[in-house]
């Protein structure tokens, strides 16, 4: 039944899109076996996080390891919320990660478009510079960066995370690639012939074409911002500005003997919103990739 539904829902799709596959035959059983193994390896730690999060602390050291969720998840969830203002932390993380994701897509798309499709003096030199910045281990810049943030008065302020996080060399690199391969020069030329302004061409013609890689970049930026803890730990010192990862650290260090149970409960709770985003947008994103977004 499922198979039939799937078939009917996907077949017309593949008909109108460009040819999607190198083979007309369905995959053989070993492909499924291989994929199943990969999938199990990928999601097992995630599952196990929940298993440990639903048990008490000692379960992590059980031999053989626990494989089935225990009864404590709900109690430990309450305990997490009891120890820190976790709701507030979730909200803060949501604000930070959303802003960074949106900003990064916008700024990277702008710069990527220019590097891919416009001509201006020193373009290649500037692009090499962008790539080079990826190679510098940024963590060491943390002290001058922090001095800067405190001069701006942004300590304990979410802007301290959002503004520096909003541009990345990776994003520019990625979007340049997307525009370069996804948007034919003819399309831009045609728009110009039709009298579209430069920015209008970018916004209405080129950007929609690279929707899928933009979404991928946005999702990765979101996940990265959500899971980042090194910098937030330094610039956020007050409870009402804590992001989820800083709150997690607080929970960890209140139970001085690492209480793996509650720590994992908190980690699961911190990952749930990410998972929701992933489930909601993930299909579109991997679907987007399917449509041949990042063309080789």
């Amino acid at each position: 039944m499922t198979t039939i539904l799937r078939r009917t829902s996907e077949e017309p799709d593949s008909g109108k899109a460009r040819p999607r596959s190198s083979s007309r035959r369905g995959p053989s059983w070993w492909v499924y076996l291989l994929l199943t193994l990969f999938v199990l390896a990928s999601i097992f730690p995630f599952y196990w996080m929940f298993v440990v999060g639903s048990q008490d602390s000692s379960a992590i050291n059980d031999v053989p390891p626990a494989m089935v969720p225990g009864p404590n998840f709900w109690d430990q969830t309450l305990e997490v919320f009891n120890r820190v203002d976790f709701g507030r932390a979730l909200l803060n993380s949501m604000i930070v990660a959303t802003s960074i994701a949106m900003g990064q897509v916008l700024f990277s798309a702008l710069a990527g478009y220019a590097f891919a499709k416009l001509r201006f003096p020193l373009k290649n030199t500037l692009f090499v510079f962008v790539i080079a910045t990826m190679m510098v281990p940024l963590q060491l810049g943390v002290i001058p960066q922090f001095i800067l943030i405190s001069e701006l008065g942004w300590v304990n302020d979410l802007r301290a995370l959002i503004v520096p996080g909003i541009v990345t060399a990776f994003g520019v690199f990625w979007m340049r690639q997307a525009f370069d391969q996804g948007v034919p020069d003819e399309l831009i030329q045609a728009a110009k012939v039709d009298g579209a302004s430069n920015i209008r061409t970018f916004w209405s013609i080129a950007l929609p074409v690279v929707r899928a890689p933009s979404a991928v970049l946005g999702l990765f930026a979101f996940m990265f911002a959500w899971n980042d803890f090194f910098w937030p730990l330094i610039v956020l010192n007050k409870q009402d500005s804590f992001t989820v990862q800083v709150a997690l650290r607080q929970i960890q260090n209140q139970a001085y003997v690492t209480d793996f149970g509650i720590q994992m409960t908190a980690t699961v709770l911190a990952t749930i919103p990410l998972l929701v985003i992933f489930v909601v947008f993930g299909k579109q994103i991997v679907g987007g990739i399917m449509e041949g977004a990042l063309k080789g």
Binding site: R6, E10, S14, R18, R20, S21, S22, S23, R24, P27, V31, L35, F38, V39, S42, I43, P45, F46, M49, I60, F107, S108, L110, A114, L118, R119, F120, V130, A132, T133, M135, V136, P137, L140, G141, I143, P144, L148, V163, P164, I166, V167, Q189, F220, N227, L248, F260, T267, T271, L275, F278, K283, V286, G287, I289, M290, G292, L294, K295, G296
Partner: protein, 305 residues
Amino acid sequence: MTQTRALRTKRKKSRNDLSGYFYIAPFFIVFGVFGAFPIVYTAWIALHDWNPIGTQTWVGLDNFTFLVSDPRFWNAVRNTFSIWFISTVPQLLFALILAAALNNALLKWATGYRMSILVPQVTSVLAVGIIFTQIFGREFGLANYLLESFGMERLDWQSGVLSSHVAISTMVMWRWTGYNALIYLAAMQSIPRDLYEVADIDGANTFRKFFHITIPQIRPAIIFTVIISTIGGMQVFAEPLIFGGNSNFTGGSDRQFQTLTMLLYEQGFGRFKFGYASAIAWALFVIILIVSIVNYMITRRISRE
């Protein structure tokens, strides 16, 4: 027809468009303030004996001359390259295989597979660390359990050079294989169908098609992933740190898995020697630069064949 039009377009496009600066300005301004300034400052610090909450004395290039003679630095270089190599090569191969397996329109549950292999990217590093430390534990670890059930001797994964590198590489591979696979998949999806059809007529088998059509066609994607995993691999930090446990920057009792970024942290945040740490940062930068260029050239040559 398309051909001529493309030619014409190229010619027309050749005039400069200064509005390009407007597009790249936001990136360069924000990056200039929050990225470049700290980096340049780092170069300045590297010329000092610099304790951020103590004394700061100008020492010229002393930090760099010490670096060259410091066995810990070369040890970290060795470890970084070894972990990078052990993790990157199988990772990209697995990703290629995975992408090839996913690249089939008749594959059932395709979206499910594609999403599942991205799950490692969502999982928090903290959880990953706890789980893998468990797997490679000396006493109760799953890896040793498997070794024993195959009749081999159990290993103290942490204390050996190679075994620790393999364990850390496994963590890196686990996190990034799915991601790379999706990039390859995306590239494979857009290979024109007719290429394969022509090959079919010529009677080429699956493997021939894979090596002579698929690989050359997804070359840009391969270069992209190689560059990204080189840059990431040279800066590998979280995995070895977690593997060492107890937030220990030294990477094992004989520094057997201390990477360059860990040494950088040890000297900076562990010892407050920011001058020396900055010198390490710049050395790392140069190494990444060289490796990326070499990589780029090799990858281009290989995938062109």
